[in-house]
Symmetry: C2
Subunit: 306 residues, 2 copies
């Protein structure tokens, strides 16, 4: 059984509130753990959420405003304290190299964990593993910013009618799926004859940005789209000025890109916690799929592909 869920560590934009820590999101993707935008306090939020430094295999930073990166030193130092033995990969916009270096060496500690830096210059694939392809796109914010998309390799979906017609059942189905062909009653059946392509599961992470091509490209057919919605629709002018999205714009991105589940986060502290439903409503007015308001310490399953 695959484990693909988002563990929400923080959801506040700019300054923390009583109920929302600064940003932080751990995407658990089978044996991988991708930590996105660790804001200050992420280390302690991990404790509350029941995740440990050893769960993290990759850190992805969208940009170097404090609420998206000040938790990095604590997380990295904790990895070494806990003697995390696997290599950890770190992606971030190349323009922020000096900030990454300062955050990595922000205090005296003995660096035990092997951290590999991947400054991202331009757009496109940044990592490919058997489990996923990780890509970035440029976003439009007040500091150089990128967003991320993670795509599972495509597979095949078995067609029960065709299997039945050929008399293939039981363990033979799995054998055919893994080996690509199977001898049945004297002739060879190929996987392509009894299945159709199944696109891989997709996760998109769109943080601080105005509406821009990159945001739509990342969200393209995402099963889960995590999207900032700093402002309510009424504050669209502010959103534009500060390089952010409104909840309605987040809904529009999800709708036009054909996403399935939209997770709203990065809420401005100007709104009362009870206003959150209003933001969800504004997104839902533009997007017919499911809309979820991220809350600290929630766990949300990445919707499986059928």
């Amino acid at each position: 059984m695959s484990l693909r869920e988002l563990v929400i560590l923080g959801t506040a934009s700019q300054a923390p509130t009583r109920s929302r820590n600064q940003n932080g999101y751990l995407l658990r993707w089978d044996a991988d753990g991708l930590l996105f935008d660790p804001g200050e306090g992420t280390q302690r939020q991990m404790l509350f959420a029941g995740v440990t430094a050893s769960h993290i295999t990759r850190v992805c930073i969208t940009h170097f405003h404090g609420d998206h990166c000040l938790g990095l030193p604590g997380v990295l130092q904790r990895m070494s304290l806990d003697q995390v033995g696997h290599t950890v990969e770190a992606c971030y916009p190349a323009e922020g190299q000096e900030y990454f270096a300062r955050l990595r060496h922000a205090a005296v500690f003995r660096e035990v964990t092997n951290l590999r830096e991947h400054p991202v210059d331009g757009e496109g694939p940044v990592a490919e593993t058997p489990e996923f392809l990780l890509e970035t796109r440029r976003l439009s914010h007040t500091a150089p910013a990128i967003g991320y998309r993670l795509t599972e390799p495509g597979g095949r979906r078995m067609l029960p009618g065709k299997l039945a017609a050929l008399g293939i059942a039981g363990p033979d189905v799995g054998r055919l799926l893994h080996e690509g062909s199977l001898a049945v009653g004297g002739r060879v059946v190929t996987l392509e004859q009894v299945s159709e392509p199944r696109p891989g599961q997709r996760f998109a992470f769109v943080m601080d940005t105005r509406l821009c091509d990159g945001a739509f490209a990342l969200a393209d057919r995402a099963d889960m789209l995590v999207c900032e919605s700093t402002f309510a629709n009424a504050d669209a002018a502010l959103a534009r000025e500060y390089g952010h999205l409104t909840a309605g714009q987040a809904g529009r991105i999800a709708a036009e890109a054909g996403a399935r589940l939209l997770v709203l986060t990065h809420f401005s502290q100007r709104y009362d916690p009870s206003d959150s439903q209003r933001l969800a409503g504004e997104a839902a007015a533009a997007f017919a799929g499911e809309v979820v308001l991220a809350r600290d310490l929630d766990r949300i399953e990445v919707p499986p592909r059928l």
Copy 2:
């Protein structure tokens, strides 16, 4: 009425726990606010404690291990976000200058608040105001570390018997105190005739250290001594190895220095929260004065001089 209290923002050593954030202590001293050792998450703990960035006039860092400084970027950025208009002074061991610079510029932000850096080289006074003298001493840790002592200027304590004998009462007492002399029934009475010296209130902050002369010097006659007690007495060998104190050693410092109130903090996460009373007991076995176990978000009055 003067306000002199310690607001406890965090009390964990090294790694935060569910009930203890990493270090952080705000000493409110009349109009001044001295923030000691802001660990990660201090910004949010301030919110829970009801203090704001504008309350901080000075930041004092003992050393550059993460649990004593990783909250600095968030605090500094919050000052600028909140447009704190007064100058903020920052003291820290000079050997940590590169760490201070990284923490100060750890993320992209517009620095609005005027921050003045005071790297401390050696020992002795680092600041003198009408309200206090701030001094440092070297401590003995695994990284270059200093401790702090804050002393109110000495005053005079009126002697009621002598006042009564001379027939001085009511507003005349205040006048004599402020003007230094007073004409009474044809002759001049001086302040010295009817009062005795009253030493100023003292606050001492002794963080990560082994037993050393500096710790005793800082604690000398402190009304409030905030002292790390990372380990229980049984782990004295570990304490020595890692450059820390046991609770019993903290008690011994308070006792030999003639301190009045001992506030224990910086507890190792190896001990169960219910073990805290054991640490208090070990300190109390060495020190006859009052022992308090610091808890996050507590406020503790600095005992007034009589």
